[in-house]
């Protein structure tokens, strides 16, 4: 059965990208254990509006853990205390009555704050644009059963492709590395035969773009895997490294195909 509790929230408020932010404390009562964390923010915002204050800006869309829009550090943990869940899937029964909860945006230099808990994650789109695709135009596709893909490979590709691009891995990493994100896409496409014509080129270009955006390097902390709402494995990072080395040894060929 649901219970009711009170929480003390300390939320990062920052009006504009180049202005200084600070933590502001709010006490919210009448929180049902059936509420999601984002619904607590909704309730707080309704109250702030009623009081004539500006609501807390945060991003959210599907509220079922698949779109990747939401996310914040909750007591220092990206997406909060529940493993394998995005923040929208964290319900209040995982908190205790009277808890103090610190809420701040995903922090990383390549993710500048836009307002309050909203950050700019377009760097991730640019990594994808650098090579996170198979170059096939509409209409070129052959009959899909002409090439068989072993069950295990297809499942492995799907495991990696499950990434929702939320950026929690970056926020959790002490180095603000985007290697889990980048390696998930490289793995997904490297495991499939359709991805092979561009395999080397894709790896090199995506890794280059990741560096260009100012993300740090991976030093195997594993924090990314621990917070990932889709539980993407860091084995993908190891695969990305192998793919990168492999690409470098084949660099002559790669260079001739760079356009």
């Amino acid at each position: 059965m649901s219970k009711v509790m009170t929480l003390h929230l300390r939320i990062w408020r920052q009006p504009r990208p180049n202005q200084k932010g600070k933590f502001v404390s709010y006490t919210v009562g009448e929180i049902s254990t059936d509420m999601s964390f984002l619904e607590v923010l909704d309730v707080l915002n309704e109250r702030l509006i009623a009081e004539g204050q500006e609501p807390v800006e945060f991003e959210s869309d599907c509220r079922e853990g698949i779109c990747g829009s939401c996310g914040a550090l909750v007591n220092g943990q990206a997406h909060g205390p529940l493993p394998g869940a995005a923040l929208c899937q964290v319900h209040m029964r995982h908190f205790q009555d009277g808890d103090t909860v610190v809420v701040e945006p995903f922090r990383a230099r390549p993710f500048p704050v836009i307002r309050d808990l909203v950050v700019d994650r377009s760097a991730l789109d640019r990594i994808m644009a650098a090579g996170g695709y198979i170059s096939v135009n509409t209409g070129q596709a052959p009959e899909p059963n002409a090439v068989t893909i072993p069950h295990g490979k297809a499942e492995g590709a799907m495991d990696a492709a499950a990434c929702i691009g939320c950026g929690a891995c970056v926020a959790a990493c002490p180095n603000a590395a985007a290697t889990l994100f980048t390696s998930a896409k490289i793995s997904h496409l490297a495991l499939l035969p359709q991805g092979h014509p561009e395999r080397e080129l894709r790896t090199v270009k995506m890794v280059q773009q990741m560096d260009l955006e100012g993300f740090g390097n991976c030093s195997n902390h594993g924090e990314c895997e621990a917070v990932c709402p889709k539980e993407i494995s860091i084995a993908n990072i190891a695969r990305m490294r192998r793919e990168y080395l492999r690409a470098l040894t084949l660099m002559d060929r790669v260079e001739t195909t760079v356009r």
Binding site: M35, I49, Q89, S122, D125, V136, E143, P150, G165
Partner: protein
Amino acid sequence: MKLDGKIPGGPLPEKWDRHKDALKLVSPANKRKFDILVVGTGLAGASAAASLAELGYNVKAFCIHDSPRRAHSIAAQGGINAAKNYPNDNDSIWRLFHDTIKGGDFRSREANVYRLAQLSNHIIDQCVAQGVPFARDYGGYLSNRSFGGAQVSRTFYARGQTGQQLLLGAYSALIRQVRRGNIVLLPRREMLDLVVADGNARGIVCRNLVTGEIERHPGHAVILATGGYGNVYFLSTNAMNSNATAAWRCYRKGAFFANPCFTQIHPTCIPVSGQYQSKLTLMSESLRNDGRVWVPKRKDDRRPPAEIPEEDRDYYLERRYPSFGNLVPRDIASRATKQICDEGRGVGPTKLAVYLDFADAVRREGIGYIREKYGNLFDMYERITGEDPYRTPMRIYPAAHYTMGGLWVDYNLMSTIAGLFVLGEANFSDHGANRLGASALMQGLADGYFVIPYTIGDYLAGTSLPSIAADHDAFATTAAEVEQRVRRLTSIRGEKSPREIHRELGRIMWNYVGMSRNAEGLRQAVEAIRGLRDEFWQNLRVPGDVNHLNKYLEFAGRVADFLELAELMAIDALHREESCGGHFREEYQTEEGEAVRNDRDFAYVAAWEFTGVGREPTLHKEPLVFENVPLSVRSYK
């Protein structure tokens, strides 16, 4: 104005080919001279933007999210239909066509639906080539599963995340063209109006959601792929940002709105638990393969479900529909559940829920089997409710899910405004009065990959479009109107937040224009909606300013448009004096409570023309002609 669906002549299987052969072409050199604006980056928008850019058009793609990959297509779970006949179960293009026409309760166009079935196979080819990791069997070949409304297995899937994988495929094609400079990507933009000059759609006015700037974007054609309007109910399975504003603004500019009362209420969602609730979560249709739906026979039976013996349970779907049982189509299952709860026999704290019980299946097949088949859904249920569905039955209730109605389009997907094309859920075209599971993804991608790249060329080649700049009078006027409307929202300084008013609207719509409707209730709804709209414009409170990221300002603009669309939905539902698909009018039912369709008077598309806010819209009828499938009564008894 006479509605011309531009349905090509000839035998059904040849219509699309004949039509394509007659379409005008734009040469490669000339394609570069055309600017095309694509609004929305879900399955329909992303696939259209990518395909058109590949052809050489200049494309601008707009999305309200921070990234095109967030569009709500991503949340589709079950799968995508195609007539590949890989399982050798005698599927065909004809059968997919036939099931879709029948599933839609004979309120869609034969020619459109046939084309959809024809294109379905190409979609699978294209998606696999992009790297979409569809499920494969141990031999490495593609797997299929079954869905409602069909007797064959034709659904392709990527676990419970098919929409996500298809969207990421379309997104990857789009983002590749961004890098190549063929698409200019404009995220965090919301289209707030359409610009029409000399009768043609020539651009859009949108708001930059970060800076608040009102931007003008001219072009030669506008493609709207902005999804459905399920959020008019406030609580739905739609995402928080799903809205009808872009489509509604086009309606106000002269695009007809077709069949707005055709909405789909999905039977198996996690029920509402409290006032604070922001959205509802779907539990996949596939659960009804092994779950049995029941309520206690006796009202106010407060025993826990495990203590209620078999003889005191009412498995009402199995009782009423013995041949289809728990697997009746969505509209039927939802309605039966509502009737039970209206009788006061619902369960749980709100009494607006029924049990979906897996105990028999667990006993029969073992817990391991259930875990393997539905594990992720059971986990999702437990995460939200805190209850373990392996031990106690799920509680479920219907929720607003999808809208079959939308902007009217002809066979070329062009609206009644020349140069405005509408794709995916935003148009009305293919699902009639009820959509079958796994067909939404198919339609969005068929429109974007394989229809619009052909039909838009015919429009561009056949229309004289003088160059237009952002300082043209039509842009200046529209931008000024938009700016004024945005400022007005923040200047009312009343008492109620936009979400508060939205929640009230949702209550009206759910009670009177929801699963079951009647003339008196619909008239009351129109009055109540008008009253609420007045209150909105007098008592709204939106804090903050317009030159800044301001989520509640965005919500407010969308609620303003929902308050107008809601009235049109009620008017359409009132005028359609029959029950069909998701539209159930209590006056038109059999003694047993089944829907009674009226083909003599209502076998048409109702396309509404805007005449002013609060004024009766003008009805235009496009007759539906069935030459290939005889009209028949759907029965699931």
